[in-house]
């Protein structure tokens, strides 16, 4: 499914004293079937950018093409709910939006709201729960009594019931402990590899992107200032530093060795490969 930004800009509270431009001149194309990372500091416009993809926000300048839809100012989108079923968003702190008394009702609510037609609602909910690693016993549980990781999984399951082609995760690891984070990474990888979903992740967690992303867009000062494959982006250490962005620890270490000892260790994804490199150079 094509997602293409064309000269897109966004300004909050346009033509008011509180006017604030957060994005401008965005020209990017999301890579289908891959994990796309939107990387930038807090307040760089990451969330604004992704919320325009399913028309929660409408660009104040330019347009976005999403499948057959054109999202543009002053242009009504016919069947916006169909678009939102194709592009699901798992929000930052999705658990804040829970209001039902059971997990089943919580997930059902979205399907009913979007008037989703299926005669096997419960089967669909169970399938979605299974995809994120939760079983049927969760159906009658109070969503507020779940752990942070389980709540996040329920929020993802709610989105999966629509079988969206594109899933957006807005700061998905915020507030999760290590174990829940590892689980979430596994789920996102599975959604891409097994179900061929296009994934978009906004985050300032550089290590998450290092583990997950195929392709990365870097946002800085309202614009996309870098884009490329993960390896390409993270090997441009000086450029990232110029934008006050971190590099993964493993790359930071290799970079330090290069700067201080003039030894070029190359790009490493895995700590065990780094150890082999160190062993070779030190011994």
């Amino acid at each position: 499914m094509e997602i293409k930004f064309n000269q897109v800009g966004y300004c909050y509270n346009e033509q008011t004293p509180l006017q604030k431009e957060v994005l401008k001149d965005i020209n990017i194309a999301i890579i289908e079937g891959k994990i796309n990372g939107i990387f930038g500091k807090s307040g760089s416009g990451k969330t604004t950018l992704v919320e325009m993809i399913n028309a929660l926000l409408i660009p104040t300048v330019g347009h976005i093409k999403v499948d057959n839809y054109i999202i543009e100012k002053n242009k009504k989108i016919v069947n916006v709910n169909t678009l939102r079923c194709k592009v699901g968003i798992v929000f930052e702190n999705p658990e804040d939006q829970f209001f039902n008394t059971t997990v089943k009702k919580e997930i059902e609510f979205g399907m009913k709201y979007f008037n989703y037609k299926t005669d096997k609602i419960e089967d669909r909910i169970i399938d979605a729960l299974k995809m994120v690693g939760l079983d049927e016993t969760f159906l009658e549980r109070d969503p507020f009594s779940l752990s942070s990781g389980e709540k996040r999984k329920v929020a993802i399951a709610s989105i999966l019931t629509f079988n969206p082609k594109v899933i957006i995760f807005d700061e998905p690891t915020l507030g999760l402990d290590y174990n829940s984070k590892v689980n979430l990474i596994r789920i996102i990888k599975m959604l891409k590899n097994k179900y061929n979903k296009t994934i978009i992740i906004t985050t300032h967690d550089v290590d998450l992107l290092h583990q997950l992303a195929d392709y990365i867009f870097v946002l800085h000062n309202k614009k996309v200032v870098m884009e490329g494959n993960k390896n390409d982006i993270f090997s441009r250490v000086d450029e990232l530093k110029k934008y006050d962005l971190p590099v993964p620890k493993i790359i930071e270490f290799a970079n330090k060795v290069y700067i201080q000892k003039n030894i070029k260790m190359g790009y490493r994804d895995d700590i065990n490969d780094l150890i082999k490199d160190i062993y070779r150079y030190v011994k």
Binding site: K41, N179, S180, V257
Partner: protein
Amino acid sequence: MNDLIIIKDLTFCYDKEYIFSRFNLNIKENSWVTLVGPNGSGKSTLIKILLGLYKFDGYISICQKILNTENLREIRSKIGVVFENPDNCFVAETVMDEIAFSLENLEIPKKEIKKRIIEVANLLRITNILEKNPHALSGGQKQLVALASALALEPKILILDEALTKIDNQDKMRILEIIKQLHHEKKMTIVNATHDIEEAVYGDDIIVIDKGKIVLKGPKELVLKEEKIFRELGLGLPFMASLSLKLQYYNLIDKMILDMDELVNVLWK
């Protein structure tokens, strides 16, 4: 060094469930303790108990004062605290008024309030947002405002309750460096409750709690050796601790080194 926080036989129930049962812990003056544990381990509950927000059984003293209703105001004046969601605490319409709020409550003279606001704003690099509404800021900026409000009190103890969770890595490192400076220069005691184990590298000691019990406690270099326990609790290890342990396994170094520059220099002497 004296024990600044003493907890003896703390017992606390929530919804008929024991969160702490005869829990004991001492935190020394001028120490930097990182309190880690999985979600639901009791970290945040312990912090709220220390702030006098929950009733408990047992004995707690903070800065040589017994934690009870009578001493609560005095104890709180010595503690600066930053929570995970600062939004819930903002009361003023500008950042400047927000920082001034708690100082005014302590009846600090206006001239002194202004001086402290300028100091913390410079320290945390937030002079450009002093006139803004705190609710209109980004997550990271809100956290900086909450930290500024806590530091303006010039507290004896700074408590961070998942306070850096929403801040991006660069700002997080910058803030931890500032806290490190305050810890050394002003002898501020730091208690940082977090599930981000990377933050533990900045402190001195680590306390690992799970299900209301202390599992590990001691200097970070010793505690982080217990890789198995960290993995069992689903906590992971900081990158530098993982790297150090593997390098020790291959006899490339002989001790835990958590500083990257130091490790590079030890490896390539």
